[in-house]
Amino acid sequence: MDREEFEHCWHEHVRRVTAYAERHVGRDAAPDVASAAFLSAWLSWKTVPDTALPWLISAARGHIRNHSRSLRRQINLQQRLQFLDQSAYLGEDAAVTAEERFTALTALASMPDGDREALLLIAWEGLTAEEAAKVLGCRPGALRTRVHRARQRLDTALLPLSSTGSAENTT
């Protein structure tokens, strides 16, 4: 039954898709983007594959582009950093210092969009390299290159902090 399958898909993925949208459009607009992605899925349910998350994230990406176009503005570094900061985990149990957090998020915000997307689709959204490549419309090999480049950049930014031992003072 289509509706039951859709509901199951909803409960399984809506939070992950909303979290994905949150780091692109901010907390206020994220539920609208997620709803729009799921509405696209509902209206063409027969074409949504069983492993629905990559499809939903692709749909969300389309709606995020429309959202940005409707606002007639490109998101700048400061806003990108703000959205990343809003969506990244901030709990007392996170074994990360405030300085590490800021450094990592700044490195993520300032790297090329394609590299950041590749890295976070895998590290945060939990997609495989093949699924992430499909979402970004590139070959898995190119995707791995982007992820490698992004990781290197992130590690380079964090390296001075780990060498000074500040990581021991967790927040």
Partner: protein
Amino acid sequence: MRDVLNELRPRVERLTRERSVEMLNAVLSHQPPVRRRGRNSVLVVATVLAIAASMLGFGLIIGNDEQESPVTADCTPMIRVDDIVYELRRYEEVNSATPLGQAQLSECEDTRRRSRGSYFPDDPRQKNAWSFEGTNPDRVLGIRQAGGIFSVYIATDATDNEIQRILHELKRSRTPR
């Protein structure tokens, strides 16, 4: 080096269940488009026949109702308990519900011409039906969904006012968490 990126991975519990249900209701309020399998071929045949007829001097024949009518079928989910048929109206988070018995579930047929839409097969699937505190089970029942949410089914003969009243009551009876 510790995996800082993994430590910063967003937790996804931020979206509340209540908000999630609201969003789901909004999405499902849109009916998926009705499939129109085979309609193109019918139109092609009708066009060829019409041209052939006009060439024979009979004038342009416009397709009859049989050829032109698109496949339409209402597949709103329904349940049946003790010969009362209920139709799905919305999804709701309800805290106080009691198991009532087995409900028969409708199936959907919307791919053939002259489709029946929602119907009860001879051997329907069954699920537990639940009644909600303070409501009449002859008028409204629920089927439990994942995450403790209920799909709310209201008797098919209920008026719009009655439907609104029942849904309002259910929303009001929800205890804030």
